[in-house]
Symmetry: D2
Subunit: 141 residues, 4 copies
């Protein structure tokens, strides 16, 4: 299975007065992992958007096991969890330097036209993406 490993140094701005990283930042870290996963499999999300197509999140789930703190470097693990031609699901886990699991989660995405937010078929508009995602899912099974 293809997994992207991205290291992130915790930013001071990402902490809150609880003394730990605010829980909303993990969605931002997932997004960084996703950007890099997509690069790793030879695609480019910035280019997709230049074609007036965007890929919003329609569902997100996060489980928080242990907080990250300022001064730490965490690793975001990102993989393709599912792809059915319409919906793409990414899986994530965030670990600290001692390989302790901090957070796990998934996000589900569709592809829509930037102007109307109406669904776009990857198979038609981005056959390269569709081909790579399909083969990744088939290989994983």
């Amino acid at each position: 299975m293809v997994i992207n490993y991205t290291e992130v140094e915790v930013r001071y701005k990402e902490t809150d007065q609880m003394g730990v990283v605010h829980h909303s930042n993990y969605l931002v870290w997932f997004e960084i992992g996703r950007t890099n996963f997509i690069k790793q499999i030879g695609l480019n999300y910035a280019e997709m958007e230049s074609g007036n197509v965007v890929s919003p999140v329609i569902d997100a789930q996060l489980s928080y096991k242990k907080p990250a703190r300022y001064g730490e470097t965490v690793t975001i693990n990102t993989w393709l969890d599912d792809y059915d031609g319409v919906r793409t699901t990414y899986g994530y886990s965030v670990k600290n330097e001692h390989d302790q699991l901090l957070v796990t989660g998934t996000t589900v995405h569709v592809v829509v036209s930037k102007d109307s937010f109406k669904p776009v078929l990857l198979r038609k508009h981005h056959p390269d993406w569709h081909g790579i995602y399909t083969s990744l899912i088939n290989e994983g099974q």
Copy 2:
């Protein structure tokens, strides 16, 4: 059922280059709704923290139906979904000015000591919170 309704004007900073509110901000809006729900039932989260106790999120789930945009005012609906003496679950829905549903979600919280992040029993340390949460859940049934 007690529901808190909080209006939020979308901030320019909350948008991203997709032209809509970035999906991570809904966790921030949920937090605003939660703060106000807690005030509405006669409690105060800032005071709880001054007792060296914090209430981190251990699980979050979000479903995105329709994006919010700059220039809009949205309403965050927040209610108590579950309380079992250890875990508190809040439910949320975010609607726009045309009463269209934008996002729904839940967050699950525990109460821990600020220093050690070890669990604290609300029943012992905050009997007032425990009493109100218990009666809200019983009334709801």
Copy 3:
């Protein structure tokens, strides 16, 4: 002088582990004050952008006197400090509920085409904005 007063409840997310509002958030609060100042003088920034024109910040200055904290409601005061037909300068002060000064600042803006980021003349593209800004500056003198 026209001054817009906007109240903002401090968000938990806006705090950092210093236990106070992170200093970058005041630029976000200035932006909220600016949006409301523009509405108060009868204009609408969201509409301006729909005409493919944006108004980026070219200079910002902030002086921090006293930190804001979670649980507080602050008031952002916003006024037009200068307008020379090309550059618009807004002035800001943020106060707490005890009328104590927390932060003062200014931001300087130009108007550019959204696609090229090349300067656009307000006088030509938005004569209504130019007229109102000019008269505000003249009245203030």
Copy 4:
């Protein structure tokens, strides 16, 4: 002169609907540069805070020349601009991959007790910091 160079990949979350990085994020990038500058000269800000001392910003100035965009990697240059025993001033410039200047700025910091926000003398409480900062300023002259 000691300069820290830190590379940052622009995050999608850092963009706004203008299609560029929101101007408040440069204060966050300055903070990342500052953290790394401090590490480079052999000190550690996280450790300073564990001694119940924090170093808030009392003044910030930013000049925006050219916007950063998603898909770009920028370099934050950070140096010590001034130190008078009470106030520390850092200078920053942010450049893109073509060595074009995007933003310049300065932030001024003091050191205070975390609990009271009352000034603390670096010379007394952190003679190591005072020594290194003093010698850096003297060398630079």
